[in-house]
């Protein structure tokens, strides 16, 4: 995993690219969903809830990035992001639905 770029096989490079994409894009989606679901559930005034959600979203981003590079394979990196994404989307969708009815 060090600077010997030339001796590294193509599959390794693709795996690294895949992890980087997962970390940057997937991590952003996790962070955005985390901020939405937190702001829809904290018992605060609307503006304060939104500020709280945004404030903490970067911690979710950090966690997602660390996960993407710490897990064993690139596939697990994507799966490990997809799961919290689904949970957070359900949680915020639930809040949105309760708000409407």
């Amino acid at each position: 995993m060090k600077g010997k770029a030339r001796s590294l096989p193509m599959s390794y490079r693709l795996a690294v690219t895949s992890r980087v994409l997962a970390a940057v894009l997937g991590g952003y989606i996790v962070a955005a969903l985390a901020s939405v679901s937190l702001s829809s559930w904290v018992p605060m005034a609307r503006a304060d809830a939104v500020v709280t959600g945004m404030l903490t979203s970067f911690l979710a981003y950090l966690g997602a990035v660390i996960w993407c590079f710490a897990c064993r394979t690139a596939l697990r990196a994507w799966l490990g992001l997809a799961l919290p994404c689904v949970i957070l989307a359900v949680v915020s969708g639930l809040a949105y639905w309760m708000d409407r009815t």
């Binding site: 600077g3 702001s39 829809s40 503006a47 304060d48 945004m54 404030l55 590079f69 915020s92």
Partner: protein
């Protein structure tokens, strides 16, 4: 990536740090310089008089000026002078020709005592470093996005660096000078750990500052896509009253300062906004100066009716989440910091810059060892070497060129302020070319030596081109001006020392190349 968590984090630290290191170095250095933005501007526009006048007097001056020159404007903005920024600045916005458009802004600097327009030399001053620090001279909003993304990478690099670092406190007391790579790594660790709270604060707060721009998902969901509604709830004072069409004289503004102070119990007014001046619907918003508290309260303002002077409303105390966001903002900006604290901010900022710089040097140094006997470096290492030289030594040269341009460009030159900025980028570009054509060690030495001459020469240049040289400013006690000259001189001495070390290191290496190479390094730092 099978080696386990710590190794994975070391890998992340190494590569995130390398790819964004050059950009982060520039962001950290210019941000550090921006802590002395006002002092730098004072040095770069020495004609603007530095005298302290009470807020009431300067507000009267501003109101008189604006009533004469900006009667038909839709909005006036008045920045009151402070101890650090002694100028009085007024801006006004023309009524836009079509609804929904943004009216043209005009800005003037006034002498806070006489009200005369100050004809200073045209210069961006310290504002340039401040703006570059987060806009990177790119069109809106791309520079802000890129710098915020770089901040996120910095955050990842910091946390992964902490995880990588096994014996954080033991290593902190270990500094082995004159051991080549080992010394660089010890320095990187020491400077990283010593000011770690500062690094974490400055990095996280930079994300918080632009969170509304980069992380708007929760606003869009909670406000059903109405971002304006979020702002109106957050800053109730920013709403503009409807124009009535009936002319009415504006009440004197100066007495409102005292009324605002009564509302706050303390504090001072930084800025006034007059909406619809000359109209019966006029309103005056007095915004509180953030410099007396750490927590920056974005919306802390008192609003008065412009004609009757009646109190219309004051923003309530900030709630906890907003106070937390505000304190991140306040800590990052350091408006509250007095001279000593400001100096500490500057030193911490330099430490952060040094941490990034040493990291880049270590990355290359470690890989160079393998090619010590080869005639030329492989392409990718040579590229990193060139970028290292240009992004560190070259940036210093560019900063010095910016100061020299301020004193050397003719005062009447059109677009003078732009040419100062051009000088900065031209010299930076030239440093890249220089690093390409000269061998690594030589390029380092030559650029550092030139930086030493340019920075060391700043006080002399100032004495030759203006009448505000050290003998005068020290005698007058103009510490902003004298401090700038002295800091440049000290910077010059530091670069002279660095250049001398670089030359010596090059010579020693030539003689006794195959000396003991740090073996343990390979495992400890990736």
């Amino acid at each position: 990536m099978k080696e386990g968590f710590r190794q994975a984090m070391a890998w992340l630290h190494t590569w995130a740090g390398l790819i964004f290191g050059w950009l982060l170095f520039a962001i950290f250095l210019t941000g550090t310089l921006a802590y002395f933005k006002d002092e730098t501007s004072h040095w770069m526009k020495p004609e603007i008089p530095a005298r302290s006048v009470s807020s009431d007097v300067s507000l009267n001056v501003a109101q008189n000026y604006l009533e004469q020159h900006a009667g038909g404007a839709s909005r006036w903005l008045i920045e009151l002078p402070t101890a650090r920024e002694p100028g009085l600045s007024v801006r006004w916005q023309q009524t836009p020709t079509q609804r929904g458009e943004r009216g043209q802004f005009t800005e003037k600097h006034l002498d806070p005592q006489t009200g005369a327009e100050v004809q200073g030399r045209e210069s961006t001053g310290g504002e340039f470093f401040y703006r570059f620090h987060f806009q990177l001279q790119m069109p809106y909003p791309w520079g802000r996005w890129l710098s915020t993304f770089a901040a996120m990478v910095m955050f990842v690099a910091l946390i992964s660096g902490i995880i990588t670092h096994k014996k954080i406190f033991k290593d902190f007391f270990t500094f082995r000078p004159r051991k080549g790579q080992r010394t660089w790594l010890d320095g990187h660790n020491a400077v990283g750990v010593l000011v770690l709270p500062f690094h974490l604060m400055i990095t996280y707060s930079s994300l918080v500052i632009f969170m509304v721009m980069v992380m708007p998902a929760s606003i869009l969901v909670s406000y059903k896509g109405d971002v304006r509604g979020f702002y109106d709830e957050l800053f109730p004072a920013s709403t503009t009253p409807q124009l009535s069409g009936q002319p009415a004289a504006l009440a004197p503004l100066a007495p409102l300062l005292e009324k605002a102070r009564e509302q706050w119990g303390d504090g001072r007014v930084a800025r006034l906004t007059v909406n619809n001046p000359g109209d019966a619907s006029a309103s005056v918003v007095l915004v509180r100066d953030g410099s007396d508290r750490v927590v920056h309260d974005f919306g802390s303002a008192v609003t008065f009716q412009g004609v009757s002077g009646q109190l219309l409303g004051a923003t309530p105390q900030a709630s906890l989440p907003r106070a937390i966001a505000g304190s991140f903002f306040g800590l990052h900006m350091g408006h509250f910091a007095g001279p000593l604290m400001r100096g500490l901010y500057f030193i911490f900022g330099l430490a952060g810059t040094a941490m990034i710089g040493t990291g880049l040097v270590i990355w290359l140094g470690k890989r160079q060892l393998k090619h010590a006997k080869a005639a030329a470096l492989p392409f990718e290492l040579r590229l990193v070497q060139i970028l290292n030289i240009a992004s560190m030594a070259g940036l210093m040269l560019a900063v010095a060129a910016f100061f020299w341009a301020n004193r050397l460009l003719p005062l009447g030159l059109t677009g003078r302020a732009d040419w100062e900025v051009n000088a900065f980028f031209i010299v930076w570009g030239l440093s890249v070319l220089h690093a390409v054509v000269r061998p690594g060690k030589q390029a380092w030495f030559e650029q550092l030596a030139l930086a030493a001459v340019l920075f060391g020469g700043v006080p002399l240049l100032n004495a030759l081109t203006t009448s505000y040289h050290l003998a005068v400013t020290l005698a007058q006690g103009d510490w902003a001006m004298a401090g700038f000259d002295l800091t440049c001189l000290a910077t010059g001495v530091f670069f002279a020392w660095a250049a001398w070390k670089m030359r010596r290191a090059g010579q020693v290496e030539g003689v006794s190349r195959p000396r003991a190479q740090p073996m343990a390094l390979e495992q400890e730092a990736h």
